[in-house]
Symmetry: C2
Subunit: 435 residues, 2 copies
């Protein structure tokens, strides 16, 4: 395969050189952090009064972790390192509870961010001849404008179609010969369902690739999307605290996400002991952003669980590869005392041919016990009329899930297309237990 | 007053020089137009085979008009002047009927467009210390991304809040000290109603200015918004065929919209005879875009009715000022044979103190006659309990509307906040007559 690099020099930079680069940026970043009301006292307490006190990358460990709670406490300006007048944009997470998390950018921050997204997109084999339909929400959410800018940077024709309106999305793909889309995995599955329901032939669209992110999904889901739509699906990883998209992205090898280490320092820790885990093991991802002056965030506990691949990637990039994010520590459900991740259930469902694209998980209280129900759709070619094969399918799903999570779920089969669909981030888990 | 100019030289350029500038750009534009499948045969038929055939601005008149219908017929690539691979973005109108209107941009087109929006915003007195909340839809619609880019260009802190979610919008204004917003006039009125309903004090927000556009509104509506929110409201005019925002904008004199004549050539024609109207008279605005290579559009019939002020503006800008757009020729309603514009009814309503912010117009068939009903809300300080003053108010509204449009309407009063609200472009007219 012929790999293409957007920032060739830095993407294949030998690691010792990359680490020198990281150290220089970290030193600069610490100076910015010292100008924020949140970090100034914390860094001084750790004996860090200026960039001179950072002599090696190991000195990062002297800095305490930053949590989501800290970001909320610092709202609105605790993490701002420059005068407000020099800021040109803010993005904010919707913040399910409490104050939103707000990130500020100056012009250089945006330029750098755009560069990382462009590098990510280009690395999947796209170029200026592609037509890129960005099927994700624009505005305060970083996914829309971040991917948009990256796509324009490499000269693709960008269609800012935004989220939702599936029928129109399909129409746009047909009208403009869209070759690549960005969406949540659940929306991609929904697009495919709508195409099938409306009799849109695969030949009428020119789609070749999709970037899928913003919610965790399993390898089986990826394969299902790839097979149904006959495209290549690339994993995208980002979070608004670290700019949004462009943090880590799969290359054409589709085997782990290169984390751009000239822009970020990543650590993997044991979320209980807060100690680093051995190379290659799974733990909580902790991130320091090196490519943003305006809102420095150091050692941020992402709550995302992952680990690094240890072997080098055939593509030649030296930036380490993250394993697929299987879930957030927040996503973990405790059902009758057992820790389970929704992704474990998704894996089972997406690997089964007779099961449709949509599913949801419900947990209720049944006396003192928790009751777990998994609702799935049956495949579009199966009919609800004959109950014998359906009962067999139900039993097969139940057994396979139980084998995976040790808990015996109740399984409900629903007709294809009958479960609720969210056009943005999918809501899969309904935890109805009283708090 | 101290006027500030973003592109000083061109904004106050003497008109003879400005016209030389226009001619040069028009010549270049004709060469681009000759590369499109729509214009090539039309221009050749008019004897225009290259820029040499445009010797003066008068030669523009040899080119036939372009209509909305032409744009739809040319869908998708009939107006594209460069190879598709060189396009980096498209915007599209939603297209209530038939194919959407699509406009393509290359990088230079976007840069120029951003410049016109920046110039417009800066001319209202904003600068890099402002906090700009862009309360309008992002994505395919040009209003969101167009204003966003212009705001960033002059270094304001831009909050890409998008349309809708009024309570959150108010919260963002409070949290970040928003000084200027962009919205439809109806949404601004809605924001004020919500603030009042939720007991948000004026002191808790720092708002100073609003840019209002995307739907026609009367001078009385402007005054009402200005008084209720204690801000300056500036008229914005744009249309997606001419890039979107940044076509014409009010300066700090708030008396007509400077149409940026280095980027556009405007003509005012009689929509029936298609002849130019005398200087200063009202007619249909016809526009030629000089600042976009990728999708040239010549002599586009906007269907917007307006005219130019003939006196120079005190701000010193030499670009002529459009009068407020009172309506589109499409908006005109024929009720029992009489031509009326919804704006005439709006003017009456917004000038009355006891009437609320929201209204709608309904037309039904009553036998062979048309029946016109105007539904308005009463002001928030009036109660529905006492019918005598309400009947008097109703009668006053009825008489004043009749005096304005000669038709006798039925008037319905509704409680404050009870008429339907659209969070984007307001839908005011419900024409229920069979077609
Ligand atoms: Zn690779
Ligand atoms: Zn002026």
């Amino acid at each position: 395969m012929n790999y293409q690099y957007w920032h060739r020099k830095v993407e294949i930079m030998p690691r010792p050189e990359l680490e020198v680069f990281q150290l220089e940026r970290l030193q600069a970043l610490v100076d910015y952090a010292l100008r924020t009301s949140f970090y100034a006292p914390k860094l001084r307490a750790a004996g860090i009064k200026g960039s001179d006190d950072i002599k090696s990358l190991d000195d990062l460990k002297r800095i305490p972790f930053t949590t989501k709670h800290d970001l909320r406490e610092g709202f609105p300006y605790g993490f701002l390192s420059i005068p407000k007048e020099e800021v040109i944009r803010l993005h904010a997470s919707s913040g399910t509870t409490g104050a939103p998390t707000t990130i500020y950018f100056n012009r250089d921050d945006i330029t750098r961010w755009t560069g990382y997204v462009a590098r990510s997109i280009y690395g999947t084999g796209c170029n200026h001849t592609d037509v890129f339909q960005n099927m994700i929400s624009y505005g305060l959410f970083t996914g829309g404008m971040g991917f948009h800018a990256g796509g324009e940077e490499i000269g693709m024709l960008v269609i800012p179609s935004g989220s939702g309106n599936t029928t129109r999305q399909v129409r746009l793909m047909q009208d403009f010969g869209t070759t690549v889309v960005h969406a949540t995995p659940s929306f991609l599955l929904h697009v495919e369902s709508i195409m099938r329901a409306e009799g849109v032939s695969r030949d009428s669209i020119k789609l070749k690739r999709a970037f899928a992110g913003a919610e965790p999904y399993s390898e089986d889901t990826r394969r299902r999307i790839e097979e149904l739509l006959q495209i290549d699906v690339y994993n995208s990883y980002g979070l608004s605290e670290m700019n949004g998209p462009g943090v880590a992205f799969e290359c054409q090898c589709k085997n782990g996400l290169h984390l751009w280490e000239d822009g970020y320092i990543a650590e993997i820790i044991n979320p209980d002991t807060l100690e680093p885990v051995p190379d290659g093991e799974t733990g909580e991802l902790v991130m320091t952003i090196l490519c943003r002056e305006t809102t420095p965030i150091l050692r941020y506990r992402t709550r995302d669980l992952t680990g690094f691949y240890t072997e080098p990637c055939p593509c030649g990039r030296t930036h380490r590869r993250l394993r697929r994010i299987t879930g957030r520590s927040d996503d973990m459900l405790i059902v009758n005392g057992v820790n389970i991740f929704p992704s474990q259930i998704e894996e089972v469902i997406m690997a089964m041919k007779d099961v449709g694209n949509n599913y949801l998980i419900e947990i209720e209280k049944d006396g003192v016990m928790d009751k777990l129900t998994v609702k799935t759709e049956i495949g579009p070619d199966i009919f609800m009329d004959d109950s014998r094969p359906l009962n067999a399918l139900k039993e097969r799903i139940r057994k396979t899930i139980q084998a995976s999570i040790t808990i015996n779920p109740r399984v409900e089969l629903h007709e294809s297309g009958s479960l609720p669909v969210s056009e943005g981030k999918a809501k899969r888990v309904y935890d109805k237990r009283p708090r």
